[in-house]
Amino acid sequence: MASPAWEVVIGMEVHVQPRTRSKMFCGCAVGRLGDAPNSNVCEICLGMPGVLPVINKAAVEACLKTALALGCEIPRHTKFDRKNYMYPDLPKGYQISQYDLPMSSRGRLELGGREVRIRRVHLEEDTGKLIHAGDKLHRALESYVDLNRAGVALMEIVSEPDLRSADEARDYAMALRTLLRTIGASEAEMEKGQMRAEPNISIRRKGSDELGVKTELKNINSFRALHRAILYEVQRQTEVLESGGTVVQETRGWSDAEQRTFSQRSKEFAEDYRYFPEPDLPPLELDPAWIEELRRALPELPSARNTRLVSKHGLTAADASLISADRELADLFEGAVSAGAPARQTANWIVGEVAPTGKLPSAENLAELVRYVDDGAITRDQGREVLVESVETGRRPSEIVTEHGFVQLSDEAALQAIAEAVVAANPKAVEDYRAGKKQALQALMADLRKRAPQANPKVASGLLLKLLA
């Protein structure tokens, strides 16, 4: 991490593949990772002579929904431009993108109680992929081109440099993913290449208003990699500056294998993209009535839900943000609560037991389970077992509890004998406890739970303490 003298400044460019059946400008199917090379291509995305692009309306809609969910301004007129550069993965020798009249601008994303400003969200097309026989382009004997991804629609979401740490950058990317999934604009799976984050990183002296020289990181394909790459890069820049050097403005790659960033001989080195309006596509007029319709159809956004989880259900900020960041968890929570489960306990179960496994019970079953434990009818340990079984089989907790004969034993008379047996069987722990090692009680409780899993922990520990006194 940067030393306290430095402030980290990060802006993010995130490319997201909108959920569309076909590519941005032709009818080709959007394939899957692992499809045979060049199996999802046609004369249009191959850039054959004489072909023309046609705009995919579903992609425009997904982009507008994203922009609206980010509170962006939508202009009346937008257009596509050509970004000219030659590379074998770019069949036409230009990428159709948006330059000076993007689909939207000036939005914001709420992140942990503050706003990250969004500069713009625009649409463009993806390029293909090069596969080199050999490890590096300049050493490869042969290079192959796979154009399955060429022409796949991409939304580019550009933030202002408002992020101040690797944690914030990762949280931003995760919040974006949640938002995109909530509104149905994209699956946004980083591992599947549906979402790619490119952080622009610089550091500056604390208190300075000027931006330092930035580097842009590429090849990042997970949230974990994003976090680590930024930490690495901040450390690298700090070392460069503190040893009297200067940061070079460049594009750097992230190597997951080596856990470091490296300078890439960037293809845009001194490149002039010669942007000009795409003459094959007339400017788009965005009908305000259509925009309003899209705005009205947006579901509740994660930030609004977060606020409600705190204000209406009384959750802690931490629980609320964890639950609201995942639409399925949030639906489960609110479903269980409306089925009669107490809110905070439900949140505890979701955060502690459900979220880590990623396997969700039905809302009704969770509600029933939480009530059993909350009423003291079964122990928390028993509850965990019931939860696992209920998730696996889909059966109701009440059936599982009955079948296993789970009940919580709170009867002091019945527990007294067990407690005495525990004390008798663990002379060392008893001695330790009496010598002042209070944590020895836990070993005794563990033995007691083994002998009587149904024991009410409160009652049992009270009995043990009496015997130890």
């Binding site: 004369e43 002579p49 023309l52 300049h138 000009f276 003459p279 094959d280």
Partner: protein, 487 residues
């Protein structure tokens, strides 16, 4: 045989429907004519006899079953920039030598569906860049009326094929005059439609915002019939118009009585116009006046800037459009290269001719950072002014009439060393492209024994106006597109 060669669509259609002749006989007559004269004219780059035979048989079946339309069985020649599946299409360039498109463009599909018979692929300036067909990387085409002279360009092969009687109709593309100018120089009818009237899908792009596909024919009616078969919205071309109105291509009438025809003084006295051309235009104006039209003076004040704007916009678009010819997926590929940049340079240096390279460099420069505003943006502003000129002029007249080309056909080789003199060939036609207007060139007599063309420009979507004036002139003058003997 001779009665079939040199006929119009209407004449052949009558014979076909009366069963006096079969489609195969018409095809054979034209293949015979090609055999007879094309060694001298060199209009065709390659013939497609198998496709033609198949289409002729299909046309004969359609005629027998009564499903024939007006174009059924009509032999057509196709410029080397229009993609037809499986037919080598090279844009007159070495870089595409051997390239067979995997698909057929929309205009061609529609013509095939209308029953035409494709004879072959015609010569043109490389990537349609030129005004004489001398920029073809294969060979120059010769003007059928004077073999030592150019046929005009860039669609010179298509114009010459109709003029020499090798085809009944043919297809060209017009970016700055590439249909109308060769039509004028070869003494045939050539029409550029309103931008957006015909789908460009399958047209190997030169300058996307200017290119349009259009017909060459022996009569105004034939041109209109051919255009009507290709016209109309295409979901594969976002710049093709979905507005209705293709009926203007069949119901245009033939009377100019009461029409006001504007003569722009900037066109009438254009620099370098030959006296013989001016005299032919004067005679044509008199014919139109006698037929009841009112001839009025109009002005297109920004004409002088049109050429400069055109030679910024067209090269800028071409520099981007031609980037795809990189030797990676199709066409020529230089394999002896140190790295990818070297492969690009070598492929493109060897594959593109001088004029194409010149325009790519001009366009790349005009779009460069720091020059964009001074060149491309300024040129687009001029384009807007030129459109405004035409809007103003059309408030005072129904159509605009002028010479199509300031000169008659010039000798082969006489302008190749001076690109600017070649660029001036388009000075009367490129305004129509910048403004997206429909225009037609019809034969209007001769000067020094060589054909002169009369250009009629109409407001956007006003093909019917241009066609009406053209047809009225054709009737009143009695001038027909004759078949050159090819001496």
């Amino acid at each position: 045989m001779r009665r079939l060669v040199g006929s119009t669509i209407g004449e052949l259609g009558k014979l076909l429907r009366a069963r006096e002749v079969s489609t195969r006989e018409i095809l054979d007559a034209h293949l015979g004519r090609i055999e007879e004269v094309d060694g001298r004219v060199k209009a065709f780059l390659r013939l497609t006899p198998e496709l033609a035979a198949e289409q002729a048989d299909r046309a004969d079946r359609a005629l027998r079953s009564g499903e024939a339309g007006p174009l059924t069985g009509i032999p057509v020649a196709v410029k080397d920039v229009l993609c037809v599946r499986g037919v080598e299409t090279t844009a007159g360039s070495q870089i595409l030598r051997g390239f067979k498109p995997p698909y057929t463009g929309t205009a061609m599909t529609r013509l095939f569906d209308a029953g035409v018979v494709m004879l072959g692929v015609t010569n043109c300036d490389e990537f349609a860049m030129g005004s004489s067909t001398e920029n073809s990387s294969y060979f120059p085409t010769h003007n059928p009326w004077a073999l030592e002279r150019v046929p005009g360009g860039s669609s010179g092969g298509s114009a010459a094929a109709v003029a020499a009687g090798e085809a009944v109709i043919s297809l060209g593309t017009d970016t700055g005059g590439s249909i109308r100018q060769p039509a004028a120089l070869c003494g045939v009818v050539g029409m550029k439609p309103t931008y957006g009237r015909v789908s460009r899908y399958g047209l190997i792009a030169f300058a996307s915002s200017l290119d349009q596909i259009g017909p060459f024919a022996r009569s105004v009616d034939d041109a209109a019939l051919t255009l009507a078969a290709m016209a109309g919205h295409d979901p594969l071309d976002a710049t093709s118009s979905d507005r209705a109105g293709n009926e203007v291509l069949s119901n245009y009438g033939g009377e100019v009585k009461g029409m006001r025809l504007g003569v722009p003084r900037e066109y009438y006295d254009v620099q370098g116009i030959e006296p013989g051309v001016k005299a032919a235009v004067d005679r044509a104006l008199q014919v139109l006046r006698d037929a009841g039209a009112e001839i009025v003076d109009v002005t297109l004040p920004h004409t002088d800037y049109g050429l400069a704007a055109y030679y910024i916009i067209a090269p800028a678009e071409c520099s981007s459009n031609l980037a795809r010819f990189d030797g990676v997926r199709y066409g020529m590929s230089e394999e002896d290269a140190a790295n990818v940049t070297d492969a690009y340079s070598k492929t493109r240096r060897r594959g593109f001719g001088t004029e194409v390279r010149r325009r790519i460099m001009l366009g790349t420069y005009a779009l460069s950072s720091g020059y964009y505003d001074a060149y491309y943006l300024k040129a687009q502003k001029v384009r807007t002014l030129i459109k405004g000129d035409f809007d103003q002029a059309f408030k005072h007249c129904d159509a605009i009439v002028s010479a199509t080309s300031p000169t008659v056909a010039f000798p082969i080789g006489s302008r190749t060393q001076d690109p600017l003199s070649m660029y001036l060939c388009d000075v009367l036609t490129l305004g129509g492209n910048l403004a997206g207007l429909p225009g037609i060139s019809v034969p209007c007599g001769s000067s020094e024994g060589l054909p002169v063309g009369l250009q009629i420009l109409a407001p956007q979507w006003g093909e019917n106006v241009a066609l009406r004036v053209a047809r009225a002139y054709e009737t009143a003058s009695g001038l027909k597109a004759e078949v050159a003997a090819v001496g």
